[in-house]
């Protein structure tokens, strides 16, 4: 087993046993900044190598995916889960968006197994982060005039995650492979160590969600595992249409399957305050994140291999 996964299990276990272990929040912030920049830089360096126009079909397909997923999740949450409108919309937005932590684990998984994937994935990651937030707000509010779209846009486009990812992409793009060599020891060589520490804290945070999960019951548990598998199937199909490699197909499935726990909670708290944040965090962080990290990634990879063998060119 990958040691980084064991770090996650360590955090989860010590959280469940109520150990005093905790990373100081400044350290956690620093680790997430490093991860976001490293992922952005990697993607940017790749963008420098290829003509941007070639990526336009993939970019628009991923944007469409970001609009579609929350629209599928919403009626399920509303009708089957019987959640209030605002809660359904907010949870749907979490599931339409992406988790950078999950993406980072998937990178480590594929690199470990020496499986090639299209390195411009971080660009698609950024694109997939945004549409679901807008869909979530419209689902909760309708196209209400009360929504302060200026504030929403500020929250969405200038949130820490987007700024660091986009910033990393641009720096990587401008500096190129040769230019970024000097900073690569920090951002690329240390990537897995940073990710291991990050996952330790994620395990502790996940354990903290188990209590509220117990309160909200079985539906969230089922949704938290069913929705990512469904999204992964959609992502895999889309990757086949776009002609991605096996690694790229796995990546797009993971991007589709992961649920946001940083950008979307912050945006929803400001834009749809009546939605209960405990519900969406219990599902996204308490169920879907550990599910994807422990079981989902190998599952989606196997799915990508099968799908490519049947339909891939």
């Amino acid at each position: 087993m990958d040691p980084i996964i064991l770090f996650f299990v360590l955090g989860l276990g010590s959280g469940l046993l109520r150990s005093e272990l905790r990373l100081p929040s400044a350290v956690y912030d620093f680790l997430s900044i490093l991860l976001l920049l490293a992922i952005g830089l990697k993607g940017g360096i790749e963008l420098a190598k290829q003509p941007f126009a070639d990526l336009l079909p993939q970019m628009s397909a991923v944007l469409a995916l970001g609009f579609l997923l929350p629209l599928v999740a919403y009626p399920v949450l509303r009708r089957v889960g019987r959640f209030k409108r605002a809660d359904s919309a907010s949870i749907a937005a979490h599931y339409g968006s992406v988790s950078v932590g999950t993406y980072a684990v998937a990178v480590a998984y594929l690199v470990n197994r020496q499986i090639y994937f299209e390195e411009h994935m971080p660009l698609l990651l950024v694109l997939l982060e945004i549409p679901a937030i807008l869909v979530g707000i419209v689902l909760a509010r309708g196209l209400s005039r009360q929504t302060k779209w200026g504030v929403v846009a500020h929250e969405v486009f200038l949130g820490k995650g987007i700024v660091l990812l986009m910033g990393g992409l641009l720096i990587g793009w401008i500096a190129g492979p040769a230019g970024t060599e000097a900073i690569s020891p920090l951002f690329f060589d240390l990537f897995k160590g940073v990710l291991a520490l990050f996952l330790l804290e994620m395990g502790i945070l996940t354990a903290g969600q188990i209590g509220s999960l117990r309160r909200y019951g079985l539906f969230l548990l089922g949704f938290g595992m069913g929705m990512p598998v469904f999204s992964a199937v959609v992502g895999t199909a889309l990757a086949l249409l776009l002609g991605l490699s096996v690694g790229g197909t796995t990546m797009l499935a993971i991007l589709a399957a992961s649920a946001s726990y940083i950008a979307v909670p912050a945006a929803m708290r400001i834009s749809v305050p009546e939605a209960n944040p405990t519900l969406s965090l219990a599902a996204a962080l308490g169920v879907t994140f550990p599910f994807n990290v422990l079981l989902g990634i190998p599952l989606y990879h196997a799915m990508a291999v099968q799908a490519q063998a049947f339909w891939g060119g």
Binding site: S25, E201, I204, I262, A266, R269, E274, L281
Partner: protein
């Protein structure tokens, strides 16, 4: 030196509201404020500042009674229902009244 009496309004709430709150209190006449990160437990459960979604801030505003009332009314109307928020007011003495 003469001591002048002013109000100290303390707001403890979710870190997600920081930007919005700053805009609100400045518009309502506060001439300054102090924000610190906070941890604790209340009606909305433990908020242990482990990460952004569960972190709290403590905002302190020194001002005159009218401004304090205006800010408190505004916050109660707009944020009490949906956000974890605690407000309290105490009487304090200051030496430079023109600042507050």
């Amino acid at each position: 030196m003469v001591i002048h009496s002013r109000k100290l309004l303390t707001i403890i709430t979710e870190a997600a509201l920081e930007g919005t709150l700053i805009r609100d209190v400045e518009r309502l006449g506060a001439q300054g404020y102090t924000i610190t990160d906070a941890r604790g437990k209340g009606r909305q459960g433990v908020r242990n500042a482990g990460w952004e979604a569960s972190s709290n801030i403590r905002m302190e505003i020194l001002c005159d009674a009218d401004t304090a009332t205006a800010i408190a009314d505004h916050l109660r109307q707009h944020y009490y229902e949906d956000y974890a928020m605690t407000l309290f007011l105490v009487e304090v003495g200051v030496w430079r009244p023109e600042k507050f």
